[in-house]
């Protein structure tokens, strides 16, 4: 279970994340779901990587 929203960086359990959910289909994650740090994101024509300095890399 993610603690933080990977789109806006706020706590998942706080507030309305409907807009974040809509955005997610066309956006890579921007914030680490574990610590809310802004991640270094690299988008390529067919994928993306998102790296948190503390929690490592995600890709899609």
């Amino acid at each position: 279970m993610d603690t933080f929203c990977d789109q806006c960086g706020s706590l998942v359990e706080l507030g309305d994340h409907a807009r974040c959910a809509l955005r997610r289909g066309l956006e890579p994650p921007r914030f680490c779901a574990h610590c809310a740090r802004r991640m270094v994101v690299q988008v390529t024509p067919t994928g993306w990587t998102a790296r948190c300095s503390r929690h490592g890399e995600r890709c899609g």
């Binding site: 806006c8 960086g9 289909g25 066309l26 956006e27 890579p28 921007r30 914030f31 802004r38 991640m39 270094v40 994101v41 690299q42 988008v43 390529t44 024509p45 067919t46 994928g47 993306w48």
Partner: protein, 336 residues
């Protein structure tokens, strides 16, 4: 029901653009942009006819990659990569192996164009060296045309890029000259125009478009189309505004679908022979149907896959659509 004015502008466009190949004037583009929704279908059909007559059925397919992301010193109000705004996009540099891999991924989709982009005011020596090394590495492994978009250039940098074999340079004017100061304050529209002039003089193809839906008026859209026609670029990438969190334009709405499609058709009628490329924001503005409507409404080029910092439709979806529409992908090194 179409009124006499509606019939007149479409009839004039048919005669002037379709039959004679002369693009619409600024005032005529404004008339097209004022067409009612019930005239949208005939407008798109005419724009498609114009594209087929003056450009042919081929579609130029391109992939793009961000070599240097974020941290830009400029204040383009639509852009998540400005270092002046509280955007979630962090700075990043792509290394050469990943750049080559991205070029390979792009070529595998069937694309013949690969554009290397950097979020900068203009390239410094480090970036120019990285671009040179990247282009050399791509050429060793991938057969694809290479374009660049590195901001404003000096004459020496233009010559360097031409010598590297960059066949096309992208530098968007972004919007009408009269609206530009509302969008960017750290440099001028005229500075961008100067880079485009240098690129043209150096013999590289000119790629210049912009973003529609940033709060400009229909008259300013017509003005922008006329200014692009005056420039005469080889390619016009048409981006649809996609609000970026943290930017000054982050709370603007996207364009209504009908307005976006009218703009596509109007730009085709203003630029009958230009490569008109569907670029960023089309998914969020037009939805999945947008690709089909655009390709049947004047567009003859697409960016496939993802964009610089956002995601796009899967490349296969667009390639499959081109097959369904019997629109062949432009062959490598062919000229539309």
């Amino acid at each position: 029901m179409a009124d006499s004015r509606t019939v007149t502008i479409l009839d004039m466009a048919r005669s002037q653009v379709l039959e004679s190949g002369h693009g619409l004037t600024q005032d005529q583009v404004l008339d097209v942009l004022a067409l009612p929704d019930d005239e949208l279908d005939p407008l798109l059909e005419l724009a498609h006819e114009v594209r087929m007559r003056w450009c042919g059925p081929e579609v130029e397919v391109e992939g793009i990659i961000s070599l240097k992301t974020g941290g830009c010193p400029e204040d383009c109000h639509f852009c998540a990569q400005s270092g002046l705004f509280d955007s979630p996009v962090r700075s990043a540099w792509l290394d050469i192996p990943m750049l080559v891999e991205a070029a390979k991924q792009t070529a595998k989709t069937g694309a013949t164009e690969f554009c290397i982009v950097a979020a900068v005011r203009g390239p410094n020596a480090r970036l120019m060296a990285q671009v040179a090394a990247g282009i050399a590495a791509i050429r060793d492994e991938v057969d694809i045309n290479i374009a660049c978009s590195l901001g404003m250039l000096t004459p020496a940098q233009v010559d360097e890029l031409a010598a590297m074999g960059v066949h096309r340079y992208n530098h968007n004017l972004e919007t009408a000259r009269s609206y530009f100061p509302q969008v960017v304050t750290t440099h001028t529209w005229e500075e961008r125009w100067e880079t485009l002039r240098l690129v043209r003089d150096a013999g590289m193809e000119v790629c210049c478009g912009g973003i529609v839906g940033m709060g400009e008026t229909p008259a300013q859209r017509a003005e922008f189309a006329a200014q692009l026609a005056e420039l005469g670029p080889d390619e016009v990438p048409l981006n649809f505004f996609n609000p970026r969190p943290g930017t000054p334009f982050g709370d603007l709405e996207t364009l209504p679908v009908a307005d976006a499609l009218r703009i596509v058709a109007a730009f085709r009628l203003a630029l009958p022979r230009t490569i008109l490329r569907f670029a960023g924001g089309r998914e969020i503005t037009l939805g999945d149907l947008g690709a089909r409507q655009g390709l049947l409404g004047g567009v003859n080029a697409v960016i496939v896959g993802n964009y610089l910092t956002t995601l796009g439709r899967p490349a296969e979806a667009d390639i499959d659509l081109l097959g369904e529409l019997h629109m062949p992908i432009k062959a490598l090194n062919a000229t539309l």
